[in-house]
């Protein structure tokens, strides 16, 4: 049987990749996708814990996280569309009205 640590390690790796994506990319959509990756990494941990703890709570949490992620995506994409209509760009560092 694949032990818990293998899943946890993979989850941590995916989470870290997501963080690096958020930190290094400029395109708002790609940053957003990186955040989705982070949330999914956490979901993997939840399911793995649920399996090894003989508990279903972790699986239920995954539902909640998915719902919240879907809500965030809906709002986020709406914001991105709104910003694109006004500024014609989705690169986070090209909109800098508020710097300074």
């Amino acid at each position: 049987m694949v032990p818990l640590w293998a899943y946890l390690f993979l989850s941590a790796f995916l989470f870290a990749v997501g963080v690096v994506g958020v930190a290094t990319r400029r395109n708002a959509l790609v940053i957003f996708m990186s955040i989705e990756l982070m949330l999914n990494a956490v979901n993997l941990s939840f399911v793995a814990f649920a399996r090894f703890l003989h508990s279903l709570d972790g699986q239920v949490f995954v539902f909640f996280v998915m719902t919240v992620a879907a809500a965030e995506v809906a709002v986020g994409l709406a914001i991105i569309i709104a910003i694109f209509r006004n500024a014609e760009t989705v690169n986070v560092d090209e909109v800098h009205l508020l710097k300074g």
Binding site: L29, Q59, V60, F63, A70, L77, I81
Partner: protein, 171 residues
Amino acid sequence: MEWALFLIFALVAAVAAAGMVLQRSPIYSALCLILALFAQGGLYVLLHAELIAAVHIFVYAGAIMVLFLFVIMLLDLRPESHPPVQFNRVGVLAGFVLAGALLVELALGVGPRIILGPRGPYDLETLRMVGNTQAVGRVLFGEYLIPFELTSVILLAAMVGAMVLAKRRLE
């Protein structure tokens, strides 16, 4: 057998995730992420969470990522002109911090130092008897009824808000 499957899925997920960050074109990033999500669905099946796996594919691959692709196409985003990975301060700092945390977890995690909490009643035997879907349903609509209702409020707020923000004209 289980190890082999795990390694395949894990490798695909890891490579695809890295690909998502490294790809210059947003659409390829999205495709990489979809691939990673599929691999993750496979891992859920390995963890005996079939319901989660199906819902995961349904929601992420079937809905969320379609929306992403839709917006990428709507805005007709072409590949970024500058190299995707730039060494700005914050990024490098965060990357290092996370890599550090990751290594710590790796070093400690492989060893026996991870201690799991007390076990619950749902081992595989029980789940097989009750049925995975039924068991998850009972917990979701029983113990977790209130958070469940709360998510419906969150979705409603998000739905109304998305419409307010993205609609072309408001009366």
